[in-house]
């Protein structure tokens, strides 16, 4: 019981949901990330293949994750990431950060940023850069949550 108890709940390990919110089976990268996040001490939820955007958001809410990491290599990121963001907004969820990655052309990055999807890392990005970004985004949303439960 000494393990991790008696702290502010915002000090718990970062919880992250990994999802490919479209019909895209390229899961090599997402498995590597799952392992890397776990080895960085995070609790990782992997949504499995072919979740609908609704399922992604349901999972994120039920698991109360800090971060949703979306990845697509099939060129459908603009549509699929937007679907996830739309549902989050519709449910008025603003304390879950969303980061993206995959094969994302430079031109699309500002569009995704504007939607609220940050990072948007391409192939060959070192894991430590991705982990650092996830940590930063997680801390942002935790600040929001901490203020709520003072």
């Amino acid at each position: 019981m000494e393990n991790g108890r008696n702290r502010k709940y915002t000090e718990a390990p970062i919880k992250i949901l990994l999802a490919k919110p479209a019909i895209d089976g390229h899961d090599r990268g997402i498995f590597v990330l799952a392992r890397a996040f776990r080895d960085a001490g995070m609790d990782v939820i992997y949504a499995g293949l072919l979740p609908t955007p609704e399922e992604v958001v349901d999972t994120a809410i039920n698991e109360d994750v800090d971060v949703i990491a979306l990845s697509l290599l099939n060129g459908a990121h603009l549509t699929a990431f937007k679907n996830v963001m739309d549902i989050l907004n519709k449910k008025d969820v603003h304390d879950i950060a969303v980061v993206g990655g995959g094969i994302i052309p430079d031109d699309d990055k500002p569009i995704l940023e504007k939607m609220g999807v940050t990072g948007n890392f391409g192939p060959g990005t070192p894991l430590k850069i991705i982990i650092k970004h996830v940590r930063e985004r997680a801390m942002e949303v935790r600040k929001i949550k901490e203020d709520e439960y003072k």
């Binding site: 479209a22 499995g48 099939n74 060129g75 549509t79 070192p126």
Partner: protein, 567 residues
Amino acid sequence: MEDYWNLKINEIKKSFKSNDKYNKWKEKTLKPWNQKTGYKDKKYKNSSDMDIKELYTEDDVPENMDKILGNPGEYPFTRGIYPNMYRGRLWTMRMFSGFGTPDDTNKRLKYLIKNGETGLSIAFDMPTLYGYDCDSKRSVGEVGKCGVNVSSLMDMERIFDGIDLSRISTSMTINAPAAILTAMYFVLAEKNNTDLKDISGTVQADILKEYIAQKEWMYPPEAHLRLIRDMLVYSIKNVPRWNYISVSGYHIREAGSSAVQELAFTLADGFYYIDLGIKAGLNIDDFAPRMSFFFNSSINFFEEIAKFRAARRIWATVLKEKYGAKNPKSMMLKFHTQTSGYTLTWQQPLNNIVRTTIEAMAAIMGGTQSLHTNSYDEAWALPTDDAVKVALRTQQILAEETGISDVIDPLGGSYYLERLTSEMEEEAYKYFAEIDKMGGVLNAIKSGYIQKEIAETSYRRQLNIENNEETIVGVNKYIDENEKPINTLKITDIAENDQLRKLKDLKSKRDNTKVNESLNKLREAMKDENINLMPYIMECVKNYATLEEISNVGREIYGEWKEPKIY
């Protein structure tokens, strides 16, 4: 069965001689040199985690060399399946293509034919690969993005408009809905009055590697395997020049496996399909000759060549010894190769031309029957016409300028390569034994064992790259701070809108009573394991039932599938 694999492992172990010469040289010459120069040796390994020595000598060549090597065109075909190899006929330059609407793809195919390509290869978009129509809710944003969209026979007619099916061979990269796309191709030929006996081509249809690596499926494994059996039996009887399956290691490698894992898991899948044909009551020598393979060619030159040679030797040996095949054609492993997509870097993309060239050389020296070379811009997007041209020219330069295709198996007899080939073979046999212990390849897949093996290898490799133990030029070494973006192919939503309009139009014009009738007949037939479904699917296709409508009959009967948890 495990006994057979262990027998093979022991045979190989016994064929390795003692390494006196190397050891003596190491003591007498190498060590003093290293001490004098202060050189500290480190461990060298290839992707398959094998220790690589700095020198190979005649002692490394297996003892029974004559027996296990064989001449080209002779058992066990280690040096090549044809007596004259590329002198008789060059490998087929088969560039995978397909994007946007069927009309876009039709233009691209005609462009490639004009530029000297000798075989067509069609890439389908994600909705098609998963058996969804362009108007499915799941297809939004994906229509025509990663390949061409085919929602019905009408789209197939547009892709091949003006192309004579009897004069080309077509390869279709389709798996879960393979039976439906194959049916479309057959029906298209019939409608063009081309005899099914005159068409040739390959359909990938390898569902086992989908569960292992590419993860594109519709139903539980058993249901897909039944459809593969039906395609196999139908084409063996009616379409004699059709390769009903292309057992694929490509995706296993792309998913992060090592070379030896690619080799072992692919051949294990191949053996499963052989069992499937035998269970369907066919004679092995009637269907094994039409089985083909598809491998990856990655960047470790010698490791790849050894892999191709080991694959041929294992296939011939096992088909002959274990399955009792009599026809040498059953024992010949024919394969298509694609250069590695994973080794392409997003950074400094022009470097990819060099990587692809080296990988293509490995495939050619490994004796491939056909080859796809990737374009340098494919880490960014689907390739532009210009990038595809460079990739095709790469093959033409290798074929016609370098002389590497003049001699069969030009590296055969290399101490290093022969040793590596035997070691690859040994490791593959170890995997076969392990898989058998788990109750066969299907159980090994359903329990997630194979997927986990690959994920572990892939993660280890990523850590090596992160720690700079493995170099990727432009990514973790020789980084260019001022990278400029390159021109890439942009696919607009025009394709999606165009497809949606045409499908809507089709649905209003076709005879819906006939569509439903044929779908109902298929549904009934599906319930009886012993019926061959191909004629029923072809009937649906002919009536312009859509891909998704036909797929949904199976979804109803068999249910859908979710992957096992591997972590």
